[in-house]
Protein backbone atom coordinates (compact mmCIF):
# COMPACT_ATOMS: atom_id res chain seq x y z
CA UNK A 1 0.00 0.00 0.00
CA UNK A 2 1.33 3.39 -0.94
CA UNK A 3 1.60 5.79 1.94
CA UNK A 4 2.44 9.43 1.46
CA UNK A 5 4.52 10.20 -1.59
CA UNK A 6 7.03 7.38 -1.99
CA UNK A 7 6.67 4.82 0.79
CA UNK A 8 5.32 1.29 0.51
CA UNK A 9 3.74 -0.18 3.62
CA UNK A 10 3.72 -3.98 3.50
CA UNK A 11 0.57 -4.98 5.31
CA UNK A 12 1.33 -8.69 5.47
CA UNK A 13 4.82 -7.91 6.80
CA UNK A 14 6.84 -10.46 4.79
CA UNK A 15 9.37 -12.36 6.87
CA UNK A 16 13.10 -12.63 6.19
CA UNK A 17 13.13 -16.38 6.91
CA UNK A 18 16.85 -16.71 6.28
CA UNK A 19 19.81 -14.59 5.31
CA UNK A 20 23.46 -15.35 4.63
CA UNK A 21 26.60 -13.38 3.97
CA UNK A 22 29.97 -14.23 2.45
CA UNK A 23 33.15 -12.18 2.60
CA UNK A 24 36.81 -11.97 1.66
CA UNK A 25 40.04 -11.84 3.71
CA UNK A 26 39.82 -8.15 4.52
CA UNK A 27 36.33 -8.65 5.92
CA UNK A 28 37.53 -11.71 7.87
CA UNK A 29 40.00 -9.37 9.55
CA UNK A 30 37.29 -6.75 10.13
CA UNK A 31 35.10 -5.83 13.08
CA UNK A 32 32.12 -7.99 12.08
CA UNK A 33 33.91 -11.20 11.03
CA UNK A 34 31.75 -13.29 13.38
CA UNK A 35 28.60 -12.28 11.55
CA UNK A 36 29.75 -13.78 8.24
CA UNK A 37 28.50 -17.25 7.29
CA UNK A 38 31.33 -17.85 4.83
CA UNK A 39 34.75 -16.22 4.84
CA UNK A 40 37.52 -16.64 2.29
CA UNK A 41 41.25 -16.26 2.85
CA UNK A 42 41.88 -15.49 -0.81
CA UNK A 43 40.42 -12.61 -2.84
CA UNK A 44 40.46 -14.87 -5.92
CA UNK A 45 38.34 -17.60 -4.25
CA UNK A 46 40.27 -20.06 -6.38
CA UNK A 47 38.89 -18.49 -9.57
CA UNK A 48 40.94 -17.09 -12.41
CA UNK A 49 39.44 -13.59 -12.33
CA UNK A 50 38.09 -11.14 -9.76
CA UNK A 51 34.80 -11.01 -11.64
CA UNK A 52 34.36 -14.78 -11.30
CA UNK A 53 35.31 -14.53 -7.63
CA UNK A 54 32.50 -12.02 -7.08
CA UNK A 55 30.05 -14.31 -8.84
CA UNK A 56 31.12 -17.15 -6.55
CA UNK A 57 30.58 -15.02 -3.45
CA UNK A 58 27.09 -14.21 -4.65
CA UNK A 59 26.30 -17.84 -5.43
CA UNK A 60 27.58 -18.98 -2.05
CA UNK A 61 25.62 -16.40 -0.06
CA UNK A 62 22.43 -17.12 -2.03
CA UNK A 63 22.80 -20.90 -1.70
CA UNK A 64 23.54 -20.63 2.01
CA UNK A 65 20.43 -18.48 2.56
CA UNK A 66 18.30 -21.09 0.76
CA UNK A 67 19.92 -23.89 2.81
CA UNK A 68 19.38 -22.05 6.09
CA UNK A 69 15.69 -21.71 5.27
CA UNK A 70 15.57 -25.48 4.71
CA UNK A 71 14.47 -24.92 1.13
CA UNK A 72 15.62 -25.95 -2.31
CA UNK A 73 16.49 -23.69 -5.23
CA UNK A 74 13.18 -24.67 -6.84
CA UNK A 75 11.27 -23.14 -3.91
CA UNK A 76 12.56 -19.68 -4.80
CA UNK A 77 9.96 -18.00 -7.00
CA UNK A 78 12.08 -15.01 -7.92
CA UNK A 79 15.72 -14.05 -7.53
CA UNK A 80 16.52 -10.33 -7.45
CA UNK A 81 20.12 -9.30 -7.46
CA UNK A 82 22.41 -6.37 -8.14
CA UNK A 83 26.09 -5.48 -8.11
CA UNK A 84 28.53 -2.87 -9.43
CA UNK A 85 29.95 -4.56 -12.50
CA UNK A 86 29.18 -3.56 -16.08
CA UNK A 87 25.90 -5.18 -17.16
CA UNK A 88 25.62 -6.60 -13.60
CA UNK A 89 27.30 -9.82 -14.76
CA UNK A 90 27.95 -11.38 -11.30
CA UNK A 91 24.20 -11.21 -10.59
CA UNK A 92 23.11 -12.60 -13.94
CA UNK A 93 25.71 -15.38 -13.91
CA UNK A 94 24.80 -16.31 -10.33
CA UNK A 95 21.16 -16.38 -11.45
CA UNK A 96 22.16 -18.91 -14.10
CA UNK A 97 23.44 -21.18 -11.33
CA UNK A 98 20.44 -20.68 -9.06
CA UNK A 99 18.02 -21.20 -11.91
CA UNK A 100 15.13 -19.26 -10.39
CA UNK A 101 13.23 -16.66 -12.45
CA UNK A 102 15.46 -13.63 -12.22
CA UNK A 103 15.22 -9.86 -12.20
CA UNK A 104 18.45 -7.92 -12.23
CA UNK A 105 18.43 -4.66 -10.32
CA UNK A 106 20.89 -1.82 -10.50
CA UNK A 107 21.04 0.95 -7.95
CA UNK A 108 24.83 0.89 -7.49
CA UNK A 109 25.48 0.37 -3.77
CA UNK A 110 21.77 0.86 -3.02
CA UNK A 111 21.00 -2.37 -4.95
CA UNK A 112 20.85 -4.33 -1.68
CA UNK A 113 17.82 -2.46 -0.33
CA UNK A 114 16.34 -1.96 -3.79
CA UNK A 115 16.27 -5.75 -4.13
CA UNK A 116 14.88 -6.28 -0.62
CA UNK A 117 12.16 -3.66 -1.16
CA UNK A 118 11.09 -5.26 -4.46
CA UNK A 119 11.22 -8.81 -3.04
CA UNK A 120 9.04 -7.70 -0.11
CA UNK A 121 6.64 -5.98 -2.50
CA UNK A 122 6.29 -9.19 -4.53
CA UNK A 123 5.65 -11.29 -1.46
CA UNK A 124 3.28 -8.75 0.11
CA UNK A 125 1.14 -8.47 -3.00
CA UNK A 126 0.99 -12.23 -3.39
CA UNK A 127 3.02 -12.30 -6.59
CA UNK A 128 5.62 -14.48 -4.90
CA UNK A 129 5.73 -16.88 -2.00
CA UNK A 130 9.49 -16.78 -1.63
CA UNK A 131 11.71 -14.12 -3.15
CA UNK A 132 15.46 -14.05 -2.76
CA UNK A 133 17.16 -10.62 -2.69
CA UNK A 134 20.92 -10.45 -3.02
CA UNK A 135 23.76 -8.02 -3.74
CA UNK A 136 27.51 -8.31 -4.12
CA UNK A 137 30.69 -6.35 -4.68
CA UNK A 138 34.38 -7.21 -4.97
CA UNK A 139 37.10 -4.77 -4.03
CA UNK A 140 39.54 -5.63 -6.81
CA UNK A 141 36.84 -5.98 -9.48
CA UNK A 142 35.41 -2.57 -8.57
CA UNK A 143 38.85 -0.95 -8.48
CA UNK A 144 39.62 -2.44 -11.88
CA UNK A 145 36.42 -1.12 -13.41
CA UNK A 146 36.10 2.26 -11.76
CA UNK A 147 39.63 3.31 -10.86
CA UNK A 148 43.15 2.00 -11.51
CA UNK A 149 44.75 -1.45 -11.62
CA UNK A 150 44.84 -2.86 -8.09
CA UNK A 151 48.64 -2.96 -7.92
CA UNK A 152 49.04 0.56 -9.32
CA UNK A 153 50.62 2.92 -6.84
CA UNK A 154 48.25 5.87 -6.74
CA UNK A 155 47.82 7.72 -3.48
CA UNK A 156 44.19 7.95 -2.41
CA UNK A 157 42.85 10.97 -0.55
CA UNK A 158 41.47 10.62 3.00
CA UNK A 159 37.90 10.88 1.64
CA UNK A 160 38.26 7.69 -0.44
CA UNK A 161 36.55 4.47 0.65
CA UNK A 162 37.26 0.74 0.49
CA UNK A 163 34.90 -1.44 -1.55
CA UNK A 164 33.75 -4.45 0.47
CA UNK A 165 34.49 -7.88 -0.98
CA UNK A 166 31.41 -9.90 -0.20
CA UNK A 167 27.83 -10.78 -0.88
CA UNK A 168 24.63 -10.90 1.12
CA UNK A 169 21.34 -12.62 0.43
CA UNK A 170 17.97 -12.55 2.19
CA UNK A 171 15.07 -14.89 1.55
CA UNK A 172 11.76 -13.08 1.96
CA UNK A 173 8.75 -15.31 2.49
CA UNK A 174 5.02 -15.17 3.06
CA UNK A 175 5.20 -17.83 5.70
CA UNK A 176 7.58 -17.34 8.53
CA UNK A 177 7.46 -17.51 12.26
CA UNK A 178 9.03 -14.96 14.51
CA UNK A 179 11.74 -13.81 12.15
CA UNK A 180 12.56 -10.24 11.27
CA UNK A 181 9.79 -8.77 9.13
CA UNK A 182 9.97 -6.14 6.42
CA UNK A 183 7.34 -3.56 7.28
CA UNK A 184 7.87 -0.76 4.80
CA UNK A 185 10.20 0.71 2.23
CA UNK A 186 10.84 4.22 0.98
CA UNK A 187 12.05 4.48 -2.60
CA UNK A 188 14.47 7.33 -3.06
CA UNK A 189 14.78 9.87 -5.83
CA UNK A 190 17.98 10.97 -7.53
CA UNK A 191 19.82 13.75 -5.77
CA UNK A 192 22.79 15.36 -7.50
CA UNK A 193 24.65 18.04 -5.61
CA UNK A 194 27.18 18.53 -8.39
CA UNK A 195 30.01 16.58 -6.77
CA UNK A 196 32.14 14.90 -9.43
CA UNK A 197 35.04 13.46 -7.40
CA UNK A 198 34.75 9.64 -7.34
CA UNK A 199 37.15 9.62 -4.38
CA UNK A 200 34.56 11.52 -2.36
CA UNK A 201 31.45 9.35 -2.60
CA UNK A 202 30.42 10.01 0.99
CA UNK A 203 29.87 13.71 0.36
CA UNK A 204 28.14 12.96 -2.95
CA UNK A 205 25.70 10.44 -1.44
CA UNK A 206 24.93 12.08 1.91
CA UNK A 207 22.18 14.40 0.53
CA UNK A 208 20.43 11.42 -1.10
CA UNK A 209 20.41 9.57 2.23
CA UNK A 210 19.06 12.66 3.99
CA UNK A 211 16.34 13.12 1.36
CA UNK A 212 15.14 9.53 1.69
CA UNK A 213 15.25 9.57 5.51
CA UNK A 214 13.19 12.76 5.58
CA UNK A 215 10.73 11.36 3.04
CA UNK A 216 10.36 8.17 5.09
CA UNK A 217 9.38 9.96 8.28
CA UNK A 218 7.22 12.50 6.44
CA UNK A 219 5.30 9.78 4.58
CA UNK A 220 4.75 7.61 7.64
CA UNK A 221 4.32 10.53 10.00
CA UNK A 222 6.40 8.89 12.71
CA UNK A 223 9.25 10.11 14.88
CA UNK A 224 12.89 8.93 14.31
CA UNK A 225 12.87 7.57 17.87
CA UNK A 226 10.48 4.88 16.56
CA UNK A 227 13.62 3.03 15.43
CA UNK A 228 16.34 1.55 17.57
CA UNK A 229 18.81 1.99 14.75
CA UNK A 230 18.97 3.98 11.53
CA UNK A 231 21.87 2.80 9.38
CA UNK A 232 22.97 4.38 6.13
CA UNK A 233 24.62 2.07 3.60
CA UNK A 234 28.11 3.28 2.81
CA UNK A 235 28.56 6.96 3.54
CA UNK A 236 31.79 6.37 5.43
CA UNK A 237 33.19 8.78 8.00
CA UNK A 238 32.93 11.83 5.73
CA UNK A 239 29.41 11.24 4.43
CA UNK A 240 28.14 10.13 7.84
CA UNK A 241 29.26 13.37 9.41
CA UNK A 242 27.78 15.45 6.57
CA UNK A 243 24.46 13.56 6.67
CA UNK A 244 24.22 13.97 10.45
CA UNK A 245 24.86 17.72 10.26
CA UNK A 246 22.53 18.10 7.28
CA UNK A 247 19.68 16.43 9.17
CA UNK A 248 20.25 18.76 12.11
CA UNK A 249 20.29 21.76 9.79
CA UNK A 250 16.98 20.64 8.31
CA UNK A 251 15.59 20.57 11.83
CA UNK A 252 15.49 16.79 11.97
CA UNK A 253 16.41 15.37 15.34
CA UNK A 254 17.84 11.87 15.15
CA UNK A 255 19.64 10.85 18.35
CA UNK A 256 23.33 10.42 17.42
CA UNK A 257 23.53 7.02 19.13
CA UNK A 258 20.93 5.49 16.78
CA UNK A 259 22.28 6.97 13.53
CA UNK A 260 25.10 4.84 12.16
CA UNK A 261 26.64 3.74 8.87
CA UNK A 262 27.42 0.22 7.61
CA UNK A 263 30.68 1.52 6.12
CA UNK A 264 31.84 2.54 9.59
CA UNK A 265 30.82 -0.71 11.28
CA UNK A 266 32.33 -3.36 9.01
CA UNK A 267 36.05 -2.69 9.49
CA UNK A 268 38.29 -2.16 12.48
CA UNK A 269 39.70 1.31 12.97
CA UNK A 270 43.25 0.10 12.37
CA UNK A 271 42.45 -1.25 8.92
CA UNK A 272 43.65 1.05 6.12
CA UNK A 273 40.23 1.82 4.66
CA UNK A 274 40.52 5.64 4.78
CA UNK A 275 36.94 6.96 5.20
CA UNK A 276 35.34 3.50 5.55
CA UNK A 277 33.70 0.68 3.61
CA UNK A 278 31.57 0.98 0.48
CA UNK A 279 30.01 -1.14 -2.26
CA UNK A 280 26.79 -3.15 -2.62
CA UNK A 281 28.14 -5.76 -0.23
CA UNK A 282 28.72 -3.15 2.48
CA UNK A 283 25.05 -2.63 3.33
CA UNK A 284 24.16 -6.19 2.25
CA UNK A 285 26.63 -7.99 4.52
CA UNK A 286 26.14 -5.69 7.52
CA UNK A 287 22.33 -5.85 7.26
CA UNK A 288 21.89 -9.51 6.38
CA UNK A 289 24.65 -10.62 8.76
CA UNK A 290 25.30 -8.31 11.67
CA UNK A 291 21.93 -6.56 12.00
CA UNK A 292 19.89 -9.76 11.52
CA UNK A 293 21.94 -11.50 14.22
CA UNK A 294 21.56 -8.62 16.64
CA UNK A 295 17.82 -8.40 15.99
CA UNK A 296 17.47 -12.12 16.71
CA UNK A 297 19.48 -11.61 19.90
CA UNK A 298 17.04 -8.88 20.88
CA UNK A 299 19.46 -5.94 20.73
CA UNK A 300 17.25 -4.12 18.22
CA UNK A 301 13.52 -4.36 17.68
CA UNK A 302 13.12 -1.96 14.79
CA UNK A 303 15.75 -0.85 12.33
CA UNK A 304 15.80 1.30 9.21
CA UNK A 305 18.47 0.57 6.61
CA UNK A 306 19.09 3.36 4.12
CA UNK A 307 21.32 1.95 1.37
CA UNK A 308 23.03 4.69 -0.61
CA UNK A 309 24.18 4.44 -4.21
CA UNK A 310 26.35 6.60 -6.47
CA UNK A 311 25.07 6.10 -10.01
CA UNK A 312 28.19 7.02 -11.91
CA UNK A 313 30.08 5.11 -14.59
CA UNK A 314 33.77 5.30 -15.49
CA UNK A 315 32.60 6.99 -18.71
CA UNK A 316 30.43 9.63 -17.02
CA UNK A 317 33.32 10.47 -14.69
CA UNK A 318 35.80 10.86 -17.53
CA UNK A 319 33.32 13.07 -19.35
CA UNK A 320 33.32 15.33 -16.27
CA UNK A 321 29.72 14.64 -15.30
CA UNK A 322 28.65 15.00 -11.70
CA UNK A 323 27.56 11.98 -9.64
CA UNK A 324 23.79 11.35 -9.38
CA UNK A 325 23.01 9.59 -6.09
CA UNK A 326 20.13 7.63 -4.66
CA UNK A 327 19.08 6.01 -1.38
CA UNK A 328 16.44 3.41 -0.63
CA UNK A 329 15.21 2.80 2.92
CA UNK A 330 13.79 -0.48 4.20
CA UNK A 331 12.35 -0.93 7.70
CA UNK A 332 12.83 -4.30 9.39
CA UNK A 333 11.08 -5.12 12.65
CA UNK A 334 10.95 -8.02 15.06
CA UNK A 335 7.52 -9.15 16.30
Amino acid sequence: MLKGHQTWVFQSKPTIIASAVAGGPFEADGALAEDFDILHADVWLGQDSFEKAERKLLEEASQRAIDKAGMKKEDVNFFLSGDLMNQITPSSFAARTIGAPYLGVFGACSSSMEGLALASLMVDTGFANNALAAASSHNAAAEKQFRYPTEYGAQKPPTAQWTVTGAGAALVSREGKGGPRVTCATIGRIIDMGISDPFNMGAAMAPAAVDTIEAHFRDLNIDPSYYDLIATGDLGAVGHRIAGDLLIEHGFKIPTEILTDCGLLIYREEQPVLAGGSGCACSATVTYGHFMNRMKKGDFKRILVVATGALLSPMSYQQKDSIPCIAHAVAIEMD
Partner: protein, 159 residues
Amino acid sequence: MSSKKNKKLTPVQQEYQKFAQKREPKRPAFTNCLKAFLVGGTICTIGQGLQWMFIKYFGFTETTAGNPTVATLIIISVLLTGFGVYDHMAQWAGAGTAVPVTGFANTVSSAAIEHRSEGYVLGVGANMYKVAGPVITYGVFSAFIIALIKIIIMELGGI
Protein backbone atom coordinates in the same frame (compact mmCIF):
# COMPACT_ATOMS: atom_id res chain seq x y z
CA MET B 1 37.26 25.21 -7.15
CA SER B 2 37.42 27.17 -10.37
CA SER B 3 34.79 29.79 -11.06
CA LYS B 4 34.09 28.18 -14.45
CA LYS B 5 33.02 24.96 -12.74
CA ASN B 6 30.97 26.93 -10.22
CA LYS B 7 28.91 28.61 -12.94
CA LYS B 8 27.30 25.32 -13.91
CA LEU B 9 26.14 24.64 -10.37
CA THR B 10 22.85 25.84 -8.97
CA PRO B 11 22.92 28.00 -5.81
CA VAL B 12 21.67 25.01 -3.78
CA GLN B 13 24.51 22.84 -5.10
CA GLN B 14 27.07 25.55 -4.39
CA GLU B 15 25.76 25.98 -0.87
CA TYR B 16 25.90 22.22 -0.25
CA GLN B 17 29.43 21.91 -1.57
CA LYS B 18 30.59 24.63 0.81
CA PHE B 19 28.75 22.84 3.62
CA ALA B 20 30.36 19.50 2.69
CA GLN B 21 33.87 20.90 2.19
CA LYS B 22 33.91 22.17 5.76
CA ARG B 23 33.40 18.57 6.91
CA GLU B 24 35.87 16.80 4.65
CA PRO B 25 39.37 15.93 5.79
CA LYS B 26 41.95 17.75 3.68
CA ARG B 27 44.80 16.04 1.90
CA PRO B 28 47.83 16.63 4.14
CA ALA B 29 49.73 18.50 1.41
CA PHE B 30 52.81 19.42 3.44
CA THR B 31 53.44 15.95 4.91
CA ASN B 32 52.69 14.42 1.51
CA CYS B 33 55.38 16.66 -0.06
CA LEU B 34 57.84 15.78 2.68
CA LYS B 35 57.23 12.02 2.31
CA ALA B 36 57.45 12.30 -1.48
CA PHE B 37 60.77 14.13 -1.17
CA LEU B 38 62.21 11.54 1.21
CA VAL B 39 61.05 8.47 -0.72
CA GLY B 40 61.78 9.92 -4.17
CA GLY B 41 65.20 11.02 -2.93
CA THR B 42 65.91 7.57 -1.46
CA ILE B 43 65.02 5.87 -4.76
CA CYS B 44 67.34 8.25 -6.63
CA THR B 45 70.11 7.64 -4.07
CA ILE B 46 69.74 3.89 -4.62
CA GLY B 47 70.02 4.59 -8.34
CA GLN B 48 73.18 6.59 -7.77
CA GLY B 49 74.61 3.74 -5.69
CA LEU B 50 73.82 1.27 -8.47
CA GLN B 51 75.51 3.49 -11.03
CA TRP B 52 78.71 3.63 -8.96
CA MET B 53 78.57 -0.13 -8.56
CA PHE B 54 78.29 -0.66 -12.32
CA ILE B 55 81.18 1.74 -12.96
CA LYS B 56 83.44 0.37 -10.21
CA TYR B 57 82.88 -3.39 -10.51
CA PHE B 58 81.49 -3.98 -13.99
CA GLY B 59 83.62 -1.70 -16.13
CA PHE B 60 80.90 0.67 -17.33
CA THR B 61 81.62 4.34 -18.01
CA GLU B 62 79.56 7.17 -16.54
CA THR B 63 77.56 7.37 -19.79
CA THR B 64 77.00 3.66 -20.35
CA ALA B 65 76.17 2.88 -16.68
CA GLY B 66 72.78 4.58 -17.11
CA ASN B 67 71.18 1.65 -18.91
CA PRO B 68 71.93 -1.15 -16.43
CA THR B 69 71.04 1.21 -13.54
CA VAL B 70 67.60 1.99 -14.94
CA ALA B 71 67.07 -1.66 -15.86
CA THR B 72 67.86 -2.76 -12.29
CA LEU B 73 65.45 -0.21 -10.81
CA ILE B 74 62.73 -1.29 -13.25
CA ILE B 75 63.20 -4.97 -12.35
CA ILE B 76 62.99 -4.18 -8.62
CA SER B 77 59.86 -2.07 -9.18
CA VAL B 78 58.15 -4.74 -11.30
CA LEU B 79 58.93 -7.39 -8.68
CA LEU B 80 57.55 -5.22 -5.87
CA THR B 81 54.42 -4.61 -7.98
CA GLY B 82 54.00 -8.33 -8.60
CA PHE B 83 54.42 -9.16 -4.93
CA GLY B 84 51.72 -6.60 -4.11
CA VAL B 85 54.00 -4.30 -2.14
CA TYR B 86 54.38 -1.29 -4.41
CA ASP B 87 50.80 0.02 -4.08
CA HIS B 88 51.09 -0.02 -0.28
CA MET B 89 54.37 1.88 -0.42
CA ALA B 90 52.78 4.37 -2.82
CA GLN B 91 49.82 5.09 -0.54
CA TRP B 92 52.36 6.32 2.00
CA ALA B 93 54.90 7.87 -0.36
CA GLY B 94 52.57 9.47 -2.96
CA ALA B 95 54.51 11.27 -5.67
CA GLY B 96 57.73 9.87 -4.21
CA THR B 97 57.14 6.48 -5.79
CA ALA B 98 55.20 7.82 -8.79
CA VAL B 99 57.70 10.20 -10.32
CA PRO B 100 60.94 8.21 -10.72
CA VAL B 101 61.34 5.50 -13.38
CA THR B 102 60.08 2.97 -10.81
CA GLY B 103 56.63 4.60 -10.94
CA PHE B 104 56.51 4.16 -14.69
CA ALA B 105 57.46 0.50 -14.39
CA ASN B 106 54.70 0.11 -11.80
CA THR B 107 52.02 1.59 -14.10
CA VAL B 108 52.93 -0.78 -16.96
CA SER B 109 53.32 -3.93 -14.86
CA SER B 110 50.23 -3.32 -12.70
CA ALA B 111 48.04 -2.89 -15.80
CA ALA B 112 49.56 -6.01 -17.36
CA ILE B 113 48.84 -8.07 -14.23
CA GLU B 114 45.35 -6.62 -13.88
CA HIS B 115 44.22 -7.52 -17.39
CA ARG B 116 45.82 -10.97 -17.58
CA SER B 117 42.33 -12.47 -17.11
CA GLU B 118 41.25 -11.12 -20.52
CA GLY B 119 44.07 -12.95 -22.33
CA TYR B 120 47.45 -12.00 -23.76
CA VAL B 121 46.26 -10.01 -26.77
CA LEU B 122 43.08 -8.18 -25.76
CA GLY B 123 44.01 -8.18 -22.07
CA VAL B 124 47.72 -7.74 -21.40
CA GLY B 125 48.67 -6.39 -24.83
CA ALA B 126 45.85 -3.92 -25.21
CA ASN B 127 45.79 -2.66 -21.63
CA MET B 128 49.45 -2.66 -20.61
CA TYR B 129 49.88 1.01 -21.48
CA LYS B 130 46.45 2.06 -20.21
CA VAL B 131 47.93 4.19 -17.45
CA ALA B 132 51.39 4.80 -18.93
CA GLY B 133 50.15 5.45 -22.47
CA PRO B 134 49.42 9.18 -22.07
CA VAL B 135 52.97 9.71 -20.76
CA ILE B 136 54.43 8.05 -23.86
CA THR B 137 52.07 9.84 -26.26
CA TYR B 138 52.65 13.31 -24.89
CA GLY B 139 56.33 12.61 -24.15
CA VAL B 140 56.97 11.75 -27.79
CA PHE B 141 54.80 14.61 -28.99
CA SER B 142 56.54 17.24 -26.85
CA ALA B 143 59.98 15.87 -27.85
CA PHE B 144 58.91 16.32 -31.49
CA ILE B 145 57.82 19.92 -30.91
CA ILE B 146 61.03 20.74 -29.02
CA ALA B 147 63.08 19.20 -31.86
CA LEU B 148 61.21 21.35 -34.40
CA ILE B 149 61.88 24.48 -32.37
CA LYS B 150 65.56 23.56 -32.07
CA ILE B 151 65.90 22.97 -35.84
CA ILE B 152 64.18 26.27 -36.66
CA ILE B 153 66.44 28.19 -34.29
CA MET B 154 69.53 26.47 -35.73
CA GLU B 155 68.41 27.17 -39.30
CA LEU B 156 67.97 30.81 -38.38
CA GLY B 157 71.61 30.83 -37.33
CA GLY B 158 71.15 30.51 -33.57
CA ILE B 159 73.15 28.42 -31.07
